[in-house]
């Protein structure tokens, strides 16, 4: 029997965590192996499908952080605990934790870019002995846009976390400025062996990677994750193609040596 990759299956909403008015994390029932940075196609029949990256995972579930910005995601926000959504996946390569084990690791995330790397940060923040050190720079537009506030507080116990906003007054500890402004302040034992993950809008990834290299990071030790329109998730629909690469099957995670060559 040939498998139909386009056939979605029902997955129960186990819980919903609200971060902001337009960003919720849906914990969905899922049995199977996933990697942070991979994605699912989430759908509601008659409304459509949307690619959503895995923001967390555990025994019997995956977490999908969804921003309410379109036809499908608007409708998803009408679904709550006990309801079911259709999903198919996981797709894409995801982050390989072995690339970061035993290293000084810094994760630079902008906005919802924190979602695909949350699984990586969570893993190493809970298993701090598996990395030399863990640093996180998480940037948001304003205090009201901050995601995973409780996670950030938890990560602080085992890692250095710089939470920064582009502008605005906050009633909690938080820096002001773009993520790039905080990169030069980072201290490493041997920056030439340190690893970095940079995820966010294209310009933010570009300039953050340049800043990291300015302080001594090697290109090959930087990883980025690309966001593109992915209709099929299996290398067919063409929307996510850049140069000779299909982001959905070859990515979305790329080592910077490859990632820097991808020009839209």
């Amino acid at each position: 029997m040939r498998t139909n990759e386009y056939a979605p299956f029902l997955s129960k909403v186990l819980s919903v965590q609200k971060h902001t008015d337009i960003e919720y994390t849906f914990r969905m029932a899922y049995e199977g192996i996933v990697k942070p940075g991979q994605f699912f196609e989430v759908s509601i029949p008659k409304f459509g499908e949307a690619p959503i990256s895995i923001s967390g995972y555990g025994d019997g579930y995956v977490e999908l952080t969804i921003r309410r910005v379109g036809k499908v995601t608007n409708e998803i926000f009408e679904y709550y605990e006990g309801d079911s959504l259709f999903i198919r996946g996981p797709y894409g390569n995801g982050f390989d934790l072995d690339d970061y084990r035993g290293k000084e690791l810094v994760v630079v995330a902008g906005g919802t870019g924190l979602s695909p790397v949350r699984g990586v940060i969570d893993y190493f923040a809970s298993n701090p002995e598996q990395v030399k050190s863990l640093k996180v720079i998480a940037g948001f537009k304003s205090p009201s846009d901050i995601l995973f506030f409780e996670d950030i507080a938890r990560w602080k116990k085992t890692s250095q976390v710089i939470l920064t906003v582009d502008c605005g007054e906050a009633d909690f500890e938080c820096s002001i400025g773009f993520v790039t402004e905080h990169i030069p302040k980072l201290k490493f034992e041997d920056v030439s062996k340190a690893a970095a993950i940079v995820v966010g809008p294209p310009a933010m990834m570009h300039f953050s990677s340049l800043e990291l290299m300015k302080i001594g990071f090697l290109e090959k030790n930087i990883w980025i994750s690309q966001e593109r329109k992915m209709c099929c998730g299996i290398g067919k629909c063409g929307h996510c193609k850049i140069n000779d690469v299909y982001v959905c099957v070859d990515g979305p995670v790329f080592n910077y040596t490859k990632g820097k060559t991808l020009i839209d």
Partner: protein
């Protein structure tokens, strides 16, 4: 085995074939061209030799028989999802050498790049191909330079000379059909062209500096010339992109379907991501993306060029943009380094 048939014999053979297959071939739609008093030649279901337009190039390709313009995947009712029915009859597609080479490109994407496409596969398994010989090249063709002017992997070939039809049959199940209706059994080699008026020089994909080529100003002219209508993509036998669409039926909002529809990298919204991001907003950037895909990066990924040189993109462009001209310019720019 080769055969010579009269028109009557060919019609009898086509009738035999149509018991098992739907027959798709270029057909002349009189007065349906884009200008008044012009005809449109595109693929349609045929029954007889006269239904086939064998002397001119079709402006649109066979590909809609393999990847329908709109293809339903699932039907939705209140609580159920039902897969669309598979088609039980086979199909025979009559096509020229360039187009038969294009089938290999469709297969590459739908069967080999990532997971196998279930819907493509179930149609593809039922399709047979009849090669239409080319005696001379048509306007805008450059198959010879693309290496697609000769095809050998056909189920049968068809050539017409002096009112007689010559067939080379490679699919043994069909031999009896042609033999029963043949005037003569003889060796038949399908005709092919050895030269075309339009010629292209291809860039060296091993040494090309893609970043430099992308930044070259050669693409700027297309910012204004190209109107992003996507006709080049829709007439291209090798373009495979699509968009997934869910709809609900307007008279019963509880029922609907999920389908895929053809998409074009030249048309607005192709790259839109949720939240307002988009890429390649300038039409020149889209032209560059398309040209590099056809003659540079597809080859870097799969080892052979995507473009088959059928020239249809040039035939149909309402702005008279020439793809082959762009390829030649690209090669010059690439050589300059």
């Amino acid at each position: 085995m080769g055969y010579r048939l009269t028109k009557k014999g060919l019609n009898a053979a086509l009738t035999d074939l149509s018991r098992q297959y739907k027959l798709y071939a270029p057909h002349r739609y009189v007065n349906q061209g884009e200008f008044s008093d012009t005809d449109s030649i595109r693929y349609g279901e045929i029954k007889t030799a006269d239904d086939m337009e064998l002397l001119e190039k079709s402006s649109h390709t066979f590909k809609e028989a393999l990847i329908p313009i709109s293809e339903t995947f699932f039907f939705f009712t209140e609580d159920n999802i039902k897969e669309s029915e598979r088609i039980h009859t086979g199909a025979v597609i009559f096509l020229r050498s360039c187009d038969l080479h294009a089938v290999k490109r469709l297969d590459e994407i739908y069967l080999n790049n990532g997971a196998e496409d279930y819907y493509y596969k179930r149609l593809r398994d039922k399709v047979k191909f009849v090669l239409l010989g080319c005696v001379s090249s048509f306007e805008n063709c450059f198959c010879v330079d693309m290496g697609t002017n000769i095809s050998t992997e056909y189920d049968a070939s068809l050539d017409v000379r002096d009112g007689q039809y010559y067939i080379d049959c490679k699919f043994s199940d069909w031999d009896s059909i042609f033999q029963n209706n043949a005037e003569e059994i003889l060796d038949v080699v399908p005709s092919h062209v050895d030269q075309t008026t339009i010629q292209v020089s291809l860039p060296d994909t091993d040494t090309i500096n893609t970043e430099k080529v992308i930044k070259n100003s050669m693409w700027d002219e297309y910012d204004t010339r190209c109107i992003a209508c996507g006709r080049c993509n829709f007439s291209c036998p090798t373009c495979t992109c699509f968009t997934m669409q869910d709809i609900f039926y307007t008279d019963n909002g509880k029922a609907g379907e999920r389908r895929r529809v053809w998409a074009s990298c030249m048309v607005d919204k192709f790259t839109d991501v949720a939240g307002g991001g988009s890429y390649r907003n300038k039409h020149g950037a889209r032209m560059r993306f398309k040209v590099l895909h056809k003659v540079v990066d597809y080859r870097q990924r799969f080892g052979y060029h995507m473009c088959v040189g059928c020239g249809r993109c040039d035939d149909v462009c309402p702005e008279y943009i020439s793809f082959s001209h762009a390829v030649n310019k690209l090669s010059r720019v690439a050589k300059e380094g």
